[in-house]
């Protein structure tokens, strides 16, 4: 109770708005994905978009909006670490091997209905990535699925650090399809590695140029004639930010050799890979991935859809996790994104991952991979109230999402959705 009051005070303090009544989900099984584990007959209390209390003995204040959780399961909102949802126009800027200057935040489409559909699958945050056309692609956007906002900027997960897409193997070397136009360098894996090295050497020279300029500005003093600043280059600026640890690298990868090569390259050049994406052969080099400190965001059981995906096994997630890698399960697909809870269930079947660990792979682990684990990824007091309320345990084949909350706001409500569908006039085709 003391803890409850303290947290409530912390959260309510900065709000200048008239206090909204709190929301309480009561009587549910709460899968906290925290050290508190699962709580039977529990209550989650939400105020001003934050979770203020979780437990079996939480008192619901008078005037609270109560959501009956009897028979239901509440889990942290699902986080998809690999998405291309809500992108307007091309997902790839394919014209060059390095396009670090382009930003997904420029092309977010807040009206993409897939946002809503994914809410119906309990997803509350997604990592919207540039495509895998080039060795160094564009900057990604971490979004909260606040369906209904009119300004795309309102979807952006404000606390999330910046990130960027890298890609290795067949896609950047453009080996598994016939790309239009003249062939673009690189056409081999060694070429991909060389492109990345070259780009960062150029970025280092660019950083030196600016450092020297700043020295000259200092030397000139406040009264002297300042030297002309070097040309700002948005591409190199981004690469410098990677070197300075301000931008997280998410590297599309399949084969173990290319994974090891990128780790070596990153350590040589002085940057970190935050996640390997897809990483279907990650099980072969899990120790190396763990040692670098990178996470791995993989599929549960997709494979053989191209040559470099042939050596995949459904035990990949389990093996990597057992070697100490932070593992998440992603969708890379508007369709699969709606059923990520079943993707997590599969790793219980393949590899006997514990229920808690499997849940983590679609919540806390991807939150860590995107650098937002302080705010989301588990049901704990003080965190943002991103929650999914299921009709049954999310790993059950019967499970359906009943409610999805983002920042404490109900963004999907199955009962309301059904009522609206029933009330809507028949579509034009249904005569």
């Amino acid at each position: 109770m003391n803890r409850l009051l303290l947290c409530a005070a912390l959260v309510a303090a900065p709000s200048t708005l008239a206090a909204e009544p709190p929301t309480a989900i009561v009587g549910a099984t709460i899968l906290t994905v925290s050290p508190a584990g699962n709580i039977e007959q529990g209550t989650v209390l939400i105020q001003d978009g934050r979770i203020v209390a979780v437990g079996a003995d939480v008192k619901v204040p008078a005037g609270a909006r109560v959501i009956d959780g009897a028979g239901r399961f509440v889990m942290p909102g699902i986080i998809d670490a690999h998405s291309h949802t809500a992108i307007e126009d091309n997902v790839n800027e394919c014209t060059d091997s390095v396009t670090a200057q382009v930003r997904i935040t420029d092309v977010i489409d807040q009206q993409d209905v897939n946002i809503y559909r994914q809410l119906a699958g309990g997803v509350t945050a997604v990592n919207v990535l540039h495509g895998s056309c080039n060795a160094i692609g564009g900057q990604n956007a971490v979004l909260k699925l606040r369906w209904g906002v009119t300004d795309p900027a309102q979807l952006v997960f404000a606390e999330a650090p910046r990130g960027i897409k890298f890609a290795l193997g067949e896609n950047p070397k453009r080996a598994n399809f016939s790309a239009p136009g003249p062939r673009r360098y690189p056409a081999t894996r060694m070429g991909v590695a060389e492109v990345i090295r070259e780009a960062f050497l150029e970025a280092k020279a660019y950083r030196r140029e600016w450092q020297e300029h700043e020295k000259k500005v200092k030397a000139a003093g406040p009264k002297g004639v300042p030297p002309v600043a070097p040309r700002r280059d948005l591409k190199l600026e981004t690469l410098v930010d990677i070197l300075d640890g301000k931008v997280m690298v998410h590297a599309h990868s399949y084969r173990s050799d290319e994974i090891v090569v990128l780790i070596a390259l990153a350590e040589e050049l002085g940057f970190k890979v935050r996640t390997f994406q897809h990483v279907l052969e990650g099980y072969k080099v899990a120790a190396e991935i763990a040692k670098h400190g990178a996470g791995a965001s993989t599929f549960s059981d997709w494979w053989a859809y191209k040559l470099e995906a042939h050596d995949a096994i459904p035990y990949n997630a389990a093996v990597m996790a057992s070697k100490g890698v932070n593992v998440s399960l992603n969708s890379d697909s508007n369709e699969l994104a709606r059923r990520l809870y079943w993707e997590a269930a599969k790793v219980v079947r393949y590899g006997s991952v514990s229920e808690q660990e499997a849940l983590k792979m679609i919540t806390w682990n991807p939150a860590w991979q995107l650098g937002v684990e302080r705010w989301v990824g588990s049901i704990e007091a003080g965190k943002q109230a991103d929650l999914a309320v299921f009709s049954a345990h999310p790993f059950s084949p019967d499970a359906r999402v009943e409610l999805t909350l983002v920042d404490g706001v109900v963004r999907f409500d199955r009962a309301k959705d059904t009522a609206a569908r029933n009330a809507a006039p028949a579509a034009g085709g249904a005569k």
Binding site: E88, V107, H130, R231
Partner: protein, 430 residues
């Protein structure tokens, strides 16, 4: 007295103003700047409007034109036009550049250099006297020119050159930028490069000793005009979010942005009111589409139909919301049909007329010299056989700088791209 006149003309060096005095007598006059006048007279002298009113005396030296039964309006201004330019590849949404197209990323190019005089002058047949001619191709296909459609040479038509710099939020194929995010990044870099080039030259001119000569960059110079506020940056918006993108870019670099196209503008009225600048709103409701590269393909037929429908209602909604705008052809083939469609979709007649005359002049910053029938303004005028833009109304006479043009009496021109559709006439009655 007579012999002194040629001297005077030379000294004033007017573009090509007609030295004639013309009085249009007995017509219904819609000055746009004021209330309609029945059986009124308009006097044009030396290319300028001399008098407008119901009790204006006809000067003795005037050539009198009986305008009884006609409606007289200011000349139409198409503030985003393709007149006189060669046919183009689909733009405003990507697509390959035609072989005749200029460099898609060279803001320093001038539409003026590609205008064919005879083609440009054809626009008068529809009552257009003034046009901002905008290169359609590419991302930054060049600067526009403001023309008044009277003269023997292309140069003689020029009213303002260059008039604006243009950025289309479109994409290229097989060439950077081939994505919308690339286009945004390209535009940012272009503005940064312009700033940098300016700083380099400034430092060099201040103290050239010991400095290498900076590179000459025509593109950077063109963008510098935008940075310095000498030229407006007109950004073509084809998607709803393009409006936000355009405004954000303007804010990021502190430049004056004019929104063009903006078929979904009525969905973001508050944003536009805050921006407080007239828009150039398209009447080309169904422009040719570029192939979609989006993740999951382009819109289905139903969605596309809804989009066209929404674009047609856009002007009426903007008007109702009190957002100032000009209606523009946006490279559509039949401007009149586009205006008529906006009226059919609820835009009041007088608002439509204003949006292609005084409203357009305001959007272009030329309302002090044209856009309404007021003494002192350019003698740009259209005489219509009836209600302007109505289906069976004909343009009887057009005056540009006082020069008379009589459209050939011919059947209506080719229909606009896909418009107008059958079945629209019932709504006219409403």
């Amino acid at each position: 007295m007579r012999s002194a006149l040629p001297w005077l003309l030379l000294a004033l060096a007017p573009a090509a103003a007609a030295s004639e005095v013309i009085a249009l007598v007995g017509g219904r006059v819609l000055p746009v700047s004021g209330p309609a006048l029945d059986k009124a007279t308009v006097v044009l002298r030396d290319g300028v409007i001399a008098a407008v009113g119901a009790d204006v005396a006809v000067p003795k030296d005037a050539r009198v034109i009986d305008a009884a039964g006609w409606t007289l309006t200011p000349g139409l201004i198409d503030a985003f036009s393709g007149i006189g330019l060669p046919a183009r590849a689909p733009a405003g949404g990507g697509g390959a550049s035609a072989s005749t197209a200029p460099d898609p990323l060279a803001a320093e190019q001038d539409a003026l250099d590609r205008i064919k005089l005879a083609d440009a002058l054809k626009a008068r047949d529809g009552g257009v006297t003034t046009a901002l001619v905008v290169p359609a191709e590419g991302i930054a296909g060049g600067r526009s020119v403001l023309l008044n459609l009277a003269g023997e040479t292309t140069e003689a038509l020029v009213w303002r050159q260059p008039a604006a710099l243009h950025l289309h939020l479109s994409t290229l194929r097989r060439q950077y930028p081939a994505s919308l995010m690339g286009t945004m990044a390209w535009a940012r870099q272009a503005l940064l490069d312009a700033r940098h080039a300016q700083a380099e030259w400034l430092a060099y001119e201040r103290n050239p000793k010991g400095r290498p000569r900076p590179a000459y960059d025509a593109g950077a110079l063109a963008w510098q005009d935008v940075l310095a506020g000498r030229l407006p940056l007109v950004i073509t918006c084809t998607r709803l979010n393009d409006i936000r993108r355009a405004l954000a870019l303007g804010e990021e670099f502190g430049v004056k942005v004019v929104l063009a196209g903006a078929a979904q503008a009525s969905e973001v009225v508050d944003l536009l009111k805050k921006a407080g600048r007239p828009l150039l709103v398209t009447t080309n409701y169904d422009p040719p589409k570029a192939p979609s590269f989006g993740f999951g393909g382009g819109p289905d037929e139903g969605t596309e139909k809804a989009q066209i429908e929404a674009a047609e209602h856009n002007p009426a909604k903007l008007h109702a919301a009190g957002v100032p705008f000009a209606l523009v052809s946006a490279h559509g083939r039949d401007f009149t049909a586009g205006i008529r469609r906006a009226i059919e979709r609820g835009l009041p007649q007088d608002a439509a007329l204003r949006a292609v005359t005084l409203g357009a002049a305001e959007a272009l910053g030329i309302a002090d010299r044209t856009g309404s029938l007021e003494p002192g303004k350019a003698a740009n005028l259209v005489a219509w056989s009836g209600q302007p833009f109505a289906k069976d109304t004909k343009v009887k006479l057009v005056f540009v700088d006082g020069h008379r043009h009589e459209p050939e009496d011919k059947p209506a021109g080719p229909p606009a791209e896909g418009r107008p559709r059958a079945g629209a006439s019932e709504e006219v009655a409403r």
